[in-house]
């Protein structure tokens, strides 16, 4: 069970060079894409397409890291490593957990946007 996501705005902004133009743009894009990301994870898993699932997990890892979700990003990395080894055991549960994490992050970012 991952610890709850806490938005670290200062850390994100620091990486973006305190750019207040890019930050809201990034939040919007995450919120627009999050369901696509969840669907892509589910589709590749149900198709048994492990190379595509690996790529989707890799993408999600980067997305979560962009919003300073170290715990979510670390979980995605664990899944990525497992898939790279050719091990797809317990992947359904892991994908479900990652989708839940994406939606949790999206909820908090949506509050930030509504602000």
């Amino acid at each position: 069970m991952l610890p709850a996501f806490v938005l670290d705005r200062a850390s994100i902004l620091e990486r973006l060079g305190d750019d207040l133009e890019i930050y809201p743009m990034m939040l919007d894009m995450f919120l627009q894409d999050v369901e696509n990301n969840c669907n892509s994870l589910a589709t590749s898993l149900s198709a048994g397409d492990m190379p595509t699932l690996l790529r989707e997990v890799h993408t999600v890892k980067g997305l979560l890291a962009t919003f300073s979700d170290d715990a979510g990003s670390a979980e995605a990395l664990r899944m990525e490593m497992q898939l790279r080894r050719g091990d797809s055991s317990c992947m359904a549960e892991a994908v479900a957990a990652l989708q839940a994490r994406l939606r949790e992050v999206a909820g908090i970012l949506a509050s930030e946007v509504a602000g």
Partner: protein
């Protein structure tokens, strides 16, 4: 304005990188989410910087870089690859495969700006060097052309100096040189050799500089002894030119020495026969004799063209190389045009 090619299948990364590129200033981002399409674009466009993600559908970043480096003229262009911090093995592969540097995900603006600027500075240096090399090449070509023209002019003037000492004219030099080039073309010699013979043929009689006036300018027939002295002009011309580093002067030396040889071995100075006579000498022999026969001189009238042609034909295999005569006659239209272009000015009355 720098063109920055960004290839990333993630919209959010594309947007972020594009925004960061625009903040660098003087940059035009070009975005692709598909590396195959990006590669197609690179066939016709030259980016100043490529920023490419590692993990993408259809083609990963490593394969993209390999294909990009394989395109003509794209080997030196800076490429930044985006990788996660946990992908050390991929970084090593990318370095070996042609990436210049890395960006770590999640992207950090300070790191991004520093690395992207370094790469763009590298590109600017490359462009400066390329332009500078091009400029230098143009200047070297200009100078070489100047030197070559000066060399040609000098050769013409040296040849004229020799001709001034006998009744031949500047127009004779021009005509016989162009006749020689017509024969060279008729023999299917390459363009470079045709040009070489055109430029070197005027020096055929440069050795006359060393012949005493009482022989060179004698109005009547030379005695046997005088003719023996006169024959020395071939060897004198050769000695004068042979040690030059210039390809034209070396060809001139060969022509000076061999243009009085005859195909049947009865010529001078060495009495060479057939193909033992250097080809340039065989060619110039035909051109020089034809022009001498058909030109008016203070001591003789010009031969009619058909009489001169008959002389050449009758002398095939005796005085002249038959192939050179054939090549000369095959270029008859050009011969007439050359005679028209280079006419003697004032020839004193006989």
């Amino acid at each position: 304005m720098h063109t920055v090619l960004i290839i990333d299948d993630s919209d959010i990364n594309q947007t972020l990188i594009k925004a960061l590129v625009l903040k660098l200033g003087d940059c035009q981002p070009v975005l692709f989410d598909n590396p195959v399409k990006a590669l197609e674009w690179c066939h016709d466009n030259v980016p100043d910087l490529v920023i490419v993600d590692y993990m993408m559908p259809e083609m990963d970043g490593l394969k993209f870089i390999a294909a990009f480096r394989g395109l003509h003229g794209r080997n030196e262009l800076p490429v930044l690859m985006i990788t996660a911090s946990d992908q050390r093995d991929i970084r090593y592969d990318a370095l070996l495969g042609g990436a210049n540097d890395f960006l770590t995900k999640p992207i950090d603006r300070v790191e991004f700006s520093a690395r992207a600027r370094n790469m763009l500075n590298l590109r600017q240096g490359q462009k400066y060097m390329a332009n500078h090399v091009q400029e230098l090449e143009v200047r070297v070509q200009e100078r070489t052309r100047e030197i070559r023209n000066r060399e040609k002019e000098l050769i013409f003037r040296i040849s004229r100096a020799a001709e001034f000492r006998d009744p031949e004219t500047g127009a004779h030099i021009q005509r016989m040189a162009h006749f020689s080039a017509v024969i060279a073309r008729g023999l299917d010699l390459d363009a470079k050799t045709q040009q070489l013979i055109l430029e070197a043929a005027p020096m055929h009689d440069v050795g006359k500089i060393g012949i005493p006036d009482y022989i060179l300018l004698k109005p009547g027939k030379l005695t046997h002894e005088e003719f023996e002295v006169m024959k020395n002009h071939a060897a004198l011309g050769y000695e004068l030119l042979k040690s030059s580093g210039s390809e034209i002067l070396q060809a001139g030396a060969e022509i000076a020495l061999s243009h009085h040889e005859k195909y049947d071995g009865s010529g001078y100075p060495k009495g060479l026969a057939g193909t033992k006579i250097p080809l340039l000498g065989r060619i110039v022999a035909v051109a020089d004799v034809f022009d001498a026969l058909t030109s008016e001189r203070p001591y003789k009238r010009a031969w009619a063209l058909d009489a001169a042609c008959k002389f050449l034909e009758d002398s095939r295999g005796a005085h002249f190389d038959p192939l050179c005569v054939e090549a000369f006659l095959a270029g008859w239209e050009d011969v007439l045009e050359i005679r028209q272009s280079f006419q003697d000015e004032d020839v004193p009355a006989i």
